[in-house]
Subunit: 327 residues, 2 copies
């Protein structure tokens, strides 16, 4: 079943207004959820919407709270998100980082007490659309053991790096776990093996079996010890800069709320697109591993799905779509 | 055989002065090479020194050239390295990024036409010692196929993220390849298997055999498609921002010279060390995979080796030490 972007947006907005979101916030959050589905990131689009609604009903999200600047050090600002909807605060923080970058070449906003931003790529695309390089990161609940350990102490702490480009921005949106729990579940439900070893079984052996990794709760970070280090560094970065909660504190609170994030922009208005064009062309010039395969740059798949879905409609899970219509 | 830091430094300096380095540059480069060995990064310390000397003799490094600012956009500067010694220019660029951050909260210097910085961590430690968060990256010669391809089109493009901390700064120094060619060679010479699959054999199967990966020239990026994307993004970032060479252009020139780098600093003087302390303690609180094992934060091993070598002397490869003394 396929739904238009407009239909999806207006349905999300209807539900959010019913939950007493302001007109502006309902429109913003509805747009972002719909965009996530439109770009093929269903896990943070329609499929996530009922979870978000439940979090609002559970009082984890302060729908009317306004994020506010706490301190400023030159082009670096610290904000308190006051537990406002994460997508709203992230959008505002990135807007501010863009404004700082337009004025000063570069700017940064670190936010404490904010909520889940859904798809990190959203804010990378936002920076790129405004002609800025955007770098942002968030922490999360602990869901991955550190290298050398067996118990979850690290978040998957997504990192986003976006660079604007006329022919399609380069947008890396990368969680530090090799496979998310969502992905593990997807493979598990389909009875499929992972394409690569994604974690450990209960005996401490690497495995491609998603069920065993879900049972052991030992998914792998990308690059083994390297991703483990990167995840820790990102937590220190967002929690130190914002003065907000670390992975430990988020985990101890039980629900993934009140996270820490940062948004950094560099003005890219004078950069030459030809550089990225040439790098992409060179990368694609390699012989392929699979003659029917493809070499893609980060962001390319999202953009392709966006164009496809704008023309053909956005595929939706009928059950969840039904569920949302009944909200 | 063990050598003191002072002996190592003075020997390097002697050789560099003989090559007509200025007193200041000889001292700076000698110190960095000695520090790299002192911190246990022998591949970019003593073991690399003869290669550096050869590059100078081959005219790849303009020993007297002075890097110069080309343009400024607020707190973001672009420099031309004029092919001066990479360690010299990287140190100066990071100094400038630190000064910009002290003045404006944050600052960035992108450098084109520079040379190999040896160990990226050097500049992370430099930023941290000055009380700044430091983020830097470089591109390199193509040495890794992109995801979906079989031919080298990506550099290992190291990424450094450093956060100052009283009890030992957190310094991530991470190349995007899972194992460097240096590491593959090390395992190969010792006739050992890699601890994890590090690339493909000539039939396109993942392997732990370093010899097969060296033969196929298909080492893996960290996180498969994720590292492939990250490497590409870092190349676009450093080459676009600096207006310098991309991995393609460095590769086509044949020698790894005239690379592009960027150095970003955020003033951390107001950050609370307790945040990083708590994150590290929490991470280390996980049960261990191996009862004699350890969970480490990025930078911890370097610091431990630094302390050990400062007391016991720095282990050197006798053959290379001999070779340097004869230079």
């Amino acid at each position: 079943m396929k739904i238009s972007f407009e239909q999806l947006t207006s349905e999300f907005k209807r539900v959010l207004l019913k939950l007493n979101f302001s007109e502006e916030r309902a429109a913003l959050c509805a747009r972002i959820f719909a965009e996530n589905s439109r770009d093929g990131v269903y896990s943070h689009g329609l499929n996530r919407f009922p979870v978000f609604v439940q979090a609002v009903k559970d009082g984890l999200i302060a729908i009317d709270a306004e994020p506010a600047a706490v301190s400023r050090n030159g082009v670096v600002e610290t904000w308190d998100g006051h537990l406002a909807p994460g997508m709203y605060t992230a959008t505002r923080a990135m807007e501010r980082a863009i404004a700082l970058a337009k004025e000063n070449g570069m700017g940064c906003v670190a936010v404490k007490n904010t909520n889940h931003w859904m798809r990190g790529g959203t804010y990378g695309w936002q920076a790129a659309a405004a002609g800025c390089i955007g770098i942002c990161a968030t922490n999360s609940i602990a869901n991955m053991p550190p290298w050398g350990g067996t118990e979850a102490r690290l978040g998957n702490n997504p990192l986003v790096i976006a660079i604007p480009r006329q022919k399609g921005s380069v947008v890396l949106d990368m969680a530090i776990s090799q496979f998310s729990y969502g992905k593990l579940q997807e493979y598990d439900l389909q009875g499929k093996e992972l394409p690569f070893e994604g974690g450990y079984d209960e005996h401490g052996n690497l495995t491609k079996d998603p069920a065993q990794i879900r049972a052991s709760e030992r998914p792998l970070p990308i690059g083994y010890w390297k991703g483990s280090g990167l995840s820790l560094v990102l937590d220190v970065l967002v929690a130190s800069l914002s003065g907000g909660r670390s992975v430990e504190q988020i985990t101890q609170a039980g629900a993934e709320a009140g996270v820490s994030q940062f948004f950094l922009c560099i003005d890219a208005s004078k950069l030459d697109d030809a550089v990225a064009d040439a790098i992409i062309a060179y990368t694609k010039s390699s012989a392929l591993t699979d003659k029917d395969g493809e070499i893609r740059y980060p962001g390319e798949s999202s953009l392709a799905k966006r164009h496809q879905h704008e023309q053909e409609g956005i595929p939706v899970n009928e059950e969840i779509w039904q569920q949302v219509q009944e909200l």
